[in-house]
C-alpha cells in the first residue's frame, strides 16, 4: 500500500486530498508554501495558501482562484487535516502541516531561522515526516550575523561619498528585508529601487511592512545618486541599466556570496551574505529540534544533509524534485 504522501519530480502529491504541494506544472488543486516562482506556478485550478502568498501570486500571474488560509487555522480535505505554519522565509511563507491516519507530515517549502522584520518567524512543529529544503546543505555555508553584513554595506557607502552602492537582491523577499534591515540600522535616506521591484514593495507596504521612503532608481541625474543605495534584481546588476549610476559599488545580498568564486562570477565587489534560507547549522539544528522519525530532503545539496542524517542515526531520503532552486534566490 503506497504512502498517503507521494513525492514526484513535479511536486508532492497528497493522495487522500487529491492535492499537490508546490507543483511545478498546473494542477487542479495546489497547496502552495510561498510565492517564489519555483514553488508557486501559475495556471492551477484552485490554490490554498496564506493571504499574502495569494496576493503575491495574483501580482505575478494575474488573478488566480484561491482560498486564503490564515496561519494556525485548520482546514480539512477528505480526512487530511491541513494547517499553515510560519516558515520565516518571505512574506506569507508557510510550512504545510498535514495530519492523516495518526501521522503528521511537515513540508517546509523554504525556511530560515534568523529574525526577519518582514515576516513571521519559523515555528518548529514536531512531526513524523519532515520534508526539508537543503539549498545551503553543506558545512561551508554558515551565514554571518545579518546586522554585521548590513553594517558593511553602510560602511562602504560612507567610505565612498562620490559613489553609490548598487545591491542586487531578489525581488520578492530579499529586497524588502534588506531595506527593512537598513532602516533598522538607522539608514533613513531615500532608497532607490529598480522598476522591477516597485509593485512587490508596494504589496509589502499594503501588508504593513514599512519600507521608508522609496524612489525610482532612474530619471535622476547621476550626481544626485551619489551616496545613495540602489536596490535592483540580481539580473540587472551588470546590465546597461546600471551604467547611468555614478560609479556604483556592486553588491549582492545572497547566501551564495559566502563562496568567493560565486561572488566573482557575478562581478560583485561587495558580497553580502544575507540569506533567506537556513544555513548548514540551522538545517541540522532544525532536524534535531523537530526530531522526526524520517526526513525527506527536497532540493539543494541534499547528499551532504543525507550523509549527516545517516551519521546521526536518523532516517532520511532525498527527493528528486525538478525545477527547484533559482540561482538568484538565496
Amino acid at each position: 500500500m503506497p504512502h498517503w504522501i507521494e513525492p514526484h519530480p513535479t511536486g508532492i502529491y497528497v493522495r487522500p486530498a487529491d492535492a499537490w504541494i508546490d507543483p511545478s506544472v498546473p494542477r487542479e488543486r495546489a497547496l502552495v508554501t510561498h510565492g517564489h516562482a519555483d514553488h508557486a506556478r501559475g495556471g492551477h485550478g484552485h490554490v490554498w495558501a496564506t493571504e499574502e502568498t495569494l496576493a503575491i501570486m495574483a501580482l505575478r500571474y494575474g488573478t488566480a482562484s484561491g482560498t486564503a488560509v490564515p496561519y494556525g487555522e485548520e482546514i480539512r480535505m477528505n480526512g487530511v487535516t491541513i494547517s499553515y505554519v510560519p516558515a520565516g522565509h518571505v512574506l506569507g511563507s508557510a510550512q504545510i502541516l498535514l495530519s492523516h491516519a495518526g501521522e503528521r507530515v511537515v513540508v517546509t517549502g523554504d525556511y530560515k531561522r534568523r529574525p526577519d522584520p518582514t515576516c513571521k518567524a519559523f515555528e518548529p512543529v514536531p512531526c513524523d515526516i519532515f520534508v526539508t529544503e537543503a539549498t545551503f546543505g553543506l558545512p561551508v555555508f554558515r551565514h554571518p550575523d545579518t546586522g554585521s553584513e548590513v553594517d558593511r554595506l553602510l560602511a562602504a557607502l560612507h567610505a565612498h561619498p562620490d559613489r553609490c552602492v548598487l545591491v542586487g537582491a531578489y525581488a520578492l523577499g530579499k529586497a524588502q528585508r534588506l531595506i527593512c534591515e537598513l532602516r533598522a540600522r538607522g539608514h533613513h535616506d531615500p532608497i532607490h529601487i529598480h522598476g522591477a521591484l516597485e509593485r512587490m514593495c508596494a504589496l509589502y507596504e499594503q501588508f504593513g511592512v514599512a519600507l521608508g521612503e522609496l524612489r525610482p532608481a532612474t530619471g535622476l541625474p547621476a550626481g544626485d545618486m551619489r551616496g545613495r543605495i540602489v536596490v535592483s534584481p540580481p539580473s540587472a546588476l551588470n546590465d546597461r541599466w546600471s551604467r547611468r549610476l555614478p560609479d556604483p559599488i556592486t553588491a549582492m545580498a545572497s547566501g551564495w556570496m559566502r563562496v568567493r568564486q560565486r561572488a566573482r562570477q557575478r562581478n560583485v565587489e561587495l558580497p553580502l551574505i544575507i540569506s533567506d534560507h537556513a544555513d548548514w547549522d540551522e538545517l541540522t539544528d532544525t532536524i534535531r529540534e523537530v526530531a522526526p522519525s524520517e526526513t525527506w530532503i527536497t532540493h539543494g545539496r541534499e547528499e551532504a544533509l543525507l550523509h549527516w542524517c545517516m551519521t546521526h542515526q536518523m532516517r532520511a531520503r532525498a527527493l528528486a524534485l525538478v525545477g527547484r532552486e533559482d540561482e538568484d534566490e538565496g
Partner: protein, 527 residues
C-alpha cells in the same frame, strides 16, 4: 591579521587595477611593522614557508570534520584553502565568526617558520581557532604560498611605491638587496633613512620597449634594422658572483632556466631574446611553441633541458661591470655588445644579427622573404637612442611580419567536435575599448598544437566563471596572440569588426591581460 585578511578579500573582489593599487597602498601606509613587510613578501611571492603543504591542511581538517562532508564541500567550492576556511569548526568555547585579534600577521609568520612538518597540522589548527573565515583563508593562503588574488609581484611593488610617493622603478632597483620583512625599505619609504644600496645585488632594470611601426618607412641612415625573434624578452643580470634572469614584467625566472643562469658568469646586464634550439631547424632557433615547454615551470628536469635547450640571442647591453651604458647611443652600445659576446659560452649566447639593407624597400623585401619560424618581424632602432625605460616615441619600432596579429583576451570557450569533442577548442576572444571593456572581436578554432589544446582546455575548465549551455565564460586573464589574414567592418560582433581566418598564433602566458590590444588599434588595420 584582520587588516591583512581584509586586504586579500578586497584584492579578490576589486576589479580595477587602480582600485587594487589603492587597497595595497592604504594597507602599506597604515599597517604596523613588521606585519606590512611580511604582507609585501607574501604579495610579491617572496614568503617561503616550507612546513605546510596541501596535505597538511587536509590532514588537519580530517581530524575535525567528517571526511565525507569535507570532500563534498571541497568538490563544491573547488579551492582547498577556501573550503577549509569556510567549514572550519571552532572549538566549542570560541565564538564562531570572530577574528579575536590575538594573532598578528608577524606572529603567524614566526610560528609557521618555527614549526616542523610533523607539528604543522597542530600549529595551524590552533591559529585557525582564533580567526574568522577571511582570516582563516588568508592564513591558509599564506601558509601554502601562492596567494592567487589576481595580482603580480610588480603590481604589489607599484602599490607599495604609490603608498609613499615613490617611483616603482626606484623600488625595483633596490628590491633584490632586501629581504623580508623589508625593514630598510620601509625606513627609506618613510624618509627615516637613505635608500638601501643595491650595489652588488642582481636587480632588475626596466626594459626599453618599442612602438609598432605605423609610418610608411623610416630612413635607414637614422635607424638600424635587426630581426625581432619570436621568443621571450629576457634580461640577464650578472654580478660575477650571482646571475638572475628577469621576464619583461620584472619577474624572476631564473628557476625555469638554470641552464642559462649557470652558463653566465659575467659581470654585466644584457637584454636579449630567450629561445630554444629546435632539432628540426638544424640547431637554429625553434618556434615559440617549443619554448612554451620551458615556460612557467618552477623546477625544470634534466630531460626538459636536453629536449628543449635554451639559449639567448642578445640585443643590447645595459651595464658592463659597474659602468652604466644606458645613456650611450645605441651604436656605441652595439659595439660594446659585439665586444662582450665572444667572451660568453657560444652554446648559450649569440648576438642578434643586424640586417644590412641599402634602403627601406630592400629591407621590406628581405623582411617579406624571411622564412625562419623564429622570426617575428623586424626591429628598427634609432642609431642614437639611449636605453630608456618603457616606450618612447620614435626611438624603437617593431615591424611585425605578416600576417597581421593581435593580442586578444580569451572570453568564452566552447567544446569542439569530432576528435576534439570534450575539449574546449573554440575560443571567442576580445580586445579592450577605451572604457576598459572587453569586446569580442573574433573566434578561432585552430593554430594550436595538441599539447597546447590540452593546456587551453585545462585553462578553460579551471577558470570558468559562468556557463551558458555549452558555452563557458572564462576569467579574462589569458592573452592569445591571434593571427589573421585581414580584418573588416562587420555587424556580427559588438566591436563592429570581423577577422578573416583568425587562428591562435600562440598563447601569451607571459602577457598580462590589460596589455592586450585595443579595439581602436584593430580598427586601424581595416583596409
Amino acid at each position: 591579521m584582520r587588516a591583512f585578511s581584509r586586504l586579500l578579500d578586497g584584492l579578490v573582489y576589486t576589479r580595477s587595477r587602480n582600485g587594487k593599487l589603492d587597497l595595497i597602498a592604504s594597507y602599506m601606509r597604515s599597517a604596523p611593522d613588521p606585519d606590512r613587510g611580511w604582507a609585501l613578501a607574501a604579495l610579491t611571492g617572496n614568503l617561503d614557508l616550507k612546513a605546510v603543504k596541501a596535505s597538511t591542511i587536509a590532514e588537519m581538517t580530517r581530524a575535525r570534520v567528517d571526511p565525507v562532508l569535507f570532500e563534498m564541500s571541497r568538490d563544491y567550492v573547488g579551492d582547498l584553502a577556501e573550503t577549509v576556511a569556510l567549514l572550519w569548526p571552532k572549538a566549542e568555547d570560541q565564538p564562531p565568526e570572530v577574528d579575536d585579534g590575538s594573532l598578528t600577521l608577524s606572529a603567524i609568520v614566526d610560528r609557521l617558520h618555527a614549526t616542523s612538518r610533523a607539528a604543522a597540522p597542530t600549529t595551524l589548527a590552533r591559529m585557525m581557532d582564533h580567526l574568522d573565515a577571511s582570516g582563516r583563508f588568508a592564513l591558509l593562503k599564506l601558509a601554502t604560498g601562492g596567494l592567487r588574488v589576481g595580482i603580480s609581484a610588480r603590481l604589489a611593488k607599484t602599490g607599495f611605491a604609490q603608498a609613499f610617493g615613490l617611483d616603482v622603478d626606484d623600488v625595483e632597483e633596490c628590491w633584490h638587496a632586501l629581504a623580508p620583512p623589508y625593514a630598510d625599505l620601509f625606513a627609506w619609504a618613510e624618509g627615516r633613512s637613505d635608500r638601501p644600496d643595491p650595489a652588488g645585488t642582481p636587480f632588475f632594470r626596466p626594459f626599453m620597449l618599442a612602438h609598432p611601426l605605423e609610418a610608411e618607412s623610416v630612413d635607414l641612415s637614422d635607424y638600424a634594422a635587426e630581426w625581432k625573434w619570436d621568443g621571450i624578452r629576457i634580461q640577464i643580470v650578472g654580478t660575477g658572483a650571482q646571475t638572475r634572469l628577469y621576464s619583461r614584467a620584472g619577474d624572476d625566472i631564473t628557476g625555469s632556466f638554470p641552464d642559462i643562469a649557470e652558463a653566465f658568469r659575467h659581470h654585466a646586464v644584457l637584454d636579449g631574446e630567450l629561445l630554444v634550439k629546435g632539432e628540426f631547424q638544424g640547431g637554429e632557433a625553434a618556434s615559440f611553441n617549443a619554448l612554451q615547454q620551458r615556460l612557467g615551470r618552477k623546477a625544470v628536469t634534466a630531460k626538459m633541458m636536453d629536449d628543449y635547450p635554451a639559449f639567448v640571442r642578445l640585443y643590447d647591453i645595459l651595464l658592463d661591470a659597474e659602468e652604466d651604458l644606458r645613456p650611450l647611443p645605441w651604436e656605441q652600445r652595439r659595439l660594446r655588445l659585439e665586444a662582450t659576446v665572444p667572451q660568453l659560452d657560444p652554446h648559450r649566447f649569440d648576438i642578434s644579427a643586424l640586417i644590412e639593407a641599402p634602403d627601406f624597400d630592400s629591407l621590406a623585401e628581405i623582411r617579406a622573404g624571411a622564412r625562419d619560424a623564429a622570426i617575428e618581424g623586424v626591429m628598427l632602432k634609432r642609431r642614437d637612442s639611449p636605453y630608456v625605460a618603457g616606450r618612447k616615441a620614435a626611438l624603437w619600432y617593431k615591424w611585425k611580419r605578416d600576417p597581421l596579429t593581435a593580442d586578444c583576451v580569451m572570453m568564452y570557450a566552447q567544446r569542439g567536435h569530432g576528435k576534439r569533442s570534450s575539449f574546449y577548442s573554440d575560443y571567442t576572444f576580445g580586445c579592450w575599448t577605451a572604457d576598459g571593456e572587453l569586446l569580442p572581436v573574433g573566434k578561432a578554432y585552430s593554430g594550436f598544437t595538441d599539447e597546447e589544446l590540452k593546456w587551453l582546455d585545462r585553462f578553460v575548465r579551471t577558470n570558468t566563471v559562468n556557463r551558458f549551455g555549452p558555452v563557458r565564460e572564462v576569467e579574462k586573464s589569458l592573452v592569445l596572440e591571434v593571427a589573421f589574414d585581414s580584418i573588416h567592418e562587420s555587424k556580427r560582433h559588438k566591436s563592429g569588426l570581423a577577422m578573416r581566418f583568425p587562428r591562435i598564433a600562440r598563447i601569451r602566458k607571459d602577457k598580462p591581460a590589460h596589455e592586450a590590444d585595443t579595439v581602436e588599434g584593430l580598427r586601424r588595420l581595416v583596409n
